[in-house]
C-alpha cells in the first residue's frame, strides 16, 4: 500500500534521513520506533509532503506521490495525526472536526462527529470551545478525531498518545485495535512498546535516519537485547 524506497531528507544543509525504506501493507498496522531525534517524524513529514525528500521514491497504492503537494497526498487517502497535536486553535472543537472532513472513497460507515464523540466522550462537553482552550489531552483526542474524519485508507499517528491519561490511552489502543479489525491500515509512532507489540503486525526500528531492524512482534519479543540496545527498554 505505502512504500518508501531509500529516501533522503534534509533540513537545509543537514541531512536527517539516510536512505530510509519501509512498507505498509493493506490492513496492516506497522510501527516506527527509535530514540528521540532519529528521524521518525521526518519520515512521516516526507510521506505527507510536508518536507521534500531530496532522493528516493514514495508510492501509495502504486501511485507515485514523491514530491506531490501535501493536499494531493492527503487526498490519496493518508490521514495524519501530527506530533504535538496541531489542532486549529481558532476553530471550535466541532469546527475542527468538520472543517476538513471528507469521505473520498465512499466508506460505508464513515466517521461522523457523533462517532468521534462516542469514542472520546470528554470532547462532548467542550464541543463549542475553541480548541486552544482545551487541555493537552483533549487536544490530542481532537487531533485523532480530526484525522479520522477524513476517512483515510492509511492512518498515521505520530506520538498520538503523548500526554494522555492511562485510561484514555487504553481507549485509543482499543480503538486502533477495532480499526485494525475493520481493515484500516495504520502507521504508528509511539513509545509504549508493550502496547505496540500487542497491536501491531510489524515494527521498524529507526536509527540515524535509516531502518536498522524490522520484524514482527514475535521477533521483537524474541530479541530482548536488541530492544534494550536500540530503544533502551
Amino acid at each position: 500500500m505505502l512504500r518508501i524506497e531509500a529516501i533522503e531528507t534534509f533540513y537545509g544543509a543537514s541531512q536527517v534521513l539516510f536512505g530510509m525504506s519501509l512498507e505498509v501493507g493493506a490492513n496492516e498496522v506497522v510501527t516506527l520506533m527509535g530514540r528521540n531525534g532519529m528521524g521518525k517524524t521526518t519520515t512521516v513529514n516526507s510521506i505527507m509532503g510536508i518536507v521534500r525528500p531530496a532522493a528516493g521514491r514514495i508510492t501509495f497504492e502504486n501511485d507515485e506521490i514523491t514530491n506531490a503537494p501535501a493536499h494531493l497526498i492527503a487526498r490519496h487517502g493518508l490521514g495524519l495525526v501530527p506530533e504535538g497535536r496541531q489542532v486549529f486553535p481558532n476553530l471550535s472543537v466541532r469546527e475542527n472536526l468538520v472543517a476538513t472532513a471528507a469521505n473520498r472513497f465512499g466508506a460505508r460507515d464513515p466517521w461522523t462527529v457523533e462517532r468521534v464523540l462516542t469514542m472520546f466522550p470528554e470532547l462532548e462537553a467542550r464541543i463549542t470551545s475553541m480548541a486552544n482552550l482545551l487541555s493537552g489531552g483533549e487536544q490530542q483526542m481532537l487531533a485523532i478525531g480530526r484525522a479520522l474524519m477524513t476517512n483515510p485508507k492509511l492512518l498515521i499517528l505520530d506520538e498520538a498518545t503523548e500526554g494522555l491519561a492511562p485510561l484514555i490511552r487504553k481507549e485509543i489502543w482499543h480503538c486502533l485495535e477495532r480499526l485494525k479489525v475493520e481493515g484500516q491500515a495504520i502507521l504508528v509512532i509511539d513509545k509504549n512498546i508493550d502496547d505496540l507489540k500487542r497491536i501491531a503486525d510489524r515494527h521498524y526500528i529507526v536509527e540515524k535516519g535509516k531502518v536498522v531492524w524490522s520484524g514482527t512482534s514475535a521477533e521483537l519479543d524474541a530479541n530482548a537485547e536488541l530492544v534494550q540496545e536500540k530503544l533502551g527498554v
Partner: protein, 250 residues
C-alpha cells in the same frame, strides 16, 4: 498542616462556567516530590499556571515559603525560587541552546540592566548553564539553534532551563511527554537525583515514573482533589482507579 512549603488554600478558577480548579487545597512539604495525576482536562496545567503566576485565580490563596504570593507576578515568583516547565514547549527558538539556558541563569544573577559588558563571554553565566545542559544530556548540542532540534530534545531543554534557575520548587508539567523510553528513564534518573535536594511538584501521565518517584500523590478530577496519599494508598484507592488508572497498575 500549616507551615507547608507550598500551601494552596481554597483555590478556585472558573473558565466560562467550568470550574477548572474547584476549591483546591494542597500542601507540598519541603523536599518532597509531590505528584499530581488526573484525567485529561482535570485542571492540572491550570493549577500549575496559577502557582507559577501566569493565570490569576478567581479565588483562594497560595503561600510559598511562608509568604503569600497569590498576587505576585510571574517573574517575581521565579525570583523567589519557583520554576516551571511547560507542557507545550516554550523556548526561545532562534537562540542557541546555551543562550536559552544562560538566560535562565542570568535571570537569577542580579538584575540585567547592564548595558556594556558582553554577556556571552561571562563565564558566570555560561558555566552554570553548561552544567544544567549536562544534567539533561544536551551539552554537546549547546551551540545549536534551538529551532533545529527534535521535539524530544526540546523537552530536555525545557527541563534544563527550569533547572538553571536553581529553583527551590520545581513545577514540572509532564516532563516525560514526548520523550523516548530511554530519555524518559533518564529523566526519571535526573529527577531521582534531585530528590531530597529540591521540592518538586510533578504532573505526569507516565504511571511508572509517578509511582517510582513520588513521595506523595494527589489526584485531581474535575478540578477537585479527590485523594492525596502515598503511592501505595493511591494505587489502592477505588475512586482513583475508576476515574483515572483503570487496571493499568493493578
Amino acid at each position: 498542616m500549616s507551615g507547608a512549603f507550598l500551601e494552596v488554600r481554597d483555590l478556585y478558577k472558573n473558565y466560562g462556567g467550568i470550574a477548572a480548579t474547584d476549591h483546591v487545597d494542597l500542601d507540598v512539604r519541603e523536599s518532597e516530590l509531590h505528584a499530581i495525576i488526573g484525567p485529561n482536562g482535570a485542571g492540572k496545567t491550570t493549577l500549575i499556571s496559577q502557582l507559577s503566576g501566569e493565570v490569576p485565580p478567581d479565588g483562594g490563596r497560595v503561600r510559598f515559603g511562608g509568604r503569600d504570593i497569590t498576587t505576585t507576578p510571574a517573574y517575581k515568583r521565579s525570583l523567589l525560587g519557583l520554576a516551571r516547565s511547560f507542557q507545550i514547549t516554550s523556548l526561545m527558538l532562534d537562540m542557541t541552546v546555551l543562550e536559552n539556558v544562560a538566560l535562565a541563569v542570568q535571570a537569577h544573577a542580579g538584575h540585567s540592566f547592564r548595558f556594556w559588558r558582553p554577556a556571552r563571554s561571562e563565564t558566570g553565566l555560561t558555566g552554570p548553564a553548561m552544567e544544567a545542559l549536562a544534567a539533561v544530556d544536551l551539552a554537546d548540542r549547546a551551540h545549536d539553534v534551538a529551532r533545529a532540534m527534535s521535539h524530544g530534545e526540546h523537552r530536555q531543554l525545557e527541563i534544563a532551563m527550569a533547572l538553571a534557575t536553581r529553583p527551590k520548587l520545581l513545577l514540572l508539567d509532564e516532563p516525560m511527554a514526548g520523550m523516548g523510553v530511554e530519555e524518559s528513564q533518564r529523566m526519571v534518573e535526573i529527577l531521582r537525583g534531585l530528590k531530597g535536594e529540591k521540592t518538586m511538584l510533578l504532573i505526569e501521565h507516565d504511571m511508572d515514573a509517578v509511582f517510582t518517584l513520588a513521595d506523595r500523590i494527589s489526584v485531581l478530577v474535575y478540578g477537585r482533589v479527590i485523594a492525596t496519599g502515598t503511592p501505595e494508598e493511591i494505587r489502592n484507592d477505588e475512586a482513583v482507579r475508576q476515574a483515572y488508572l483503570g487496571d493499568e497498575v493493578a
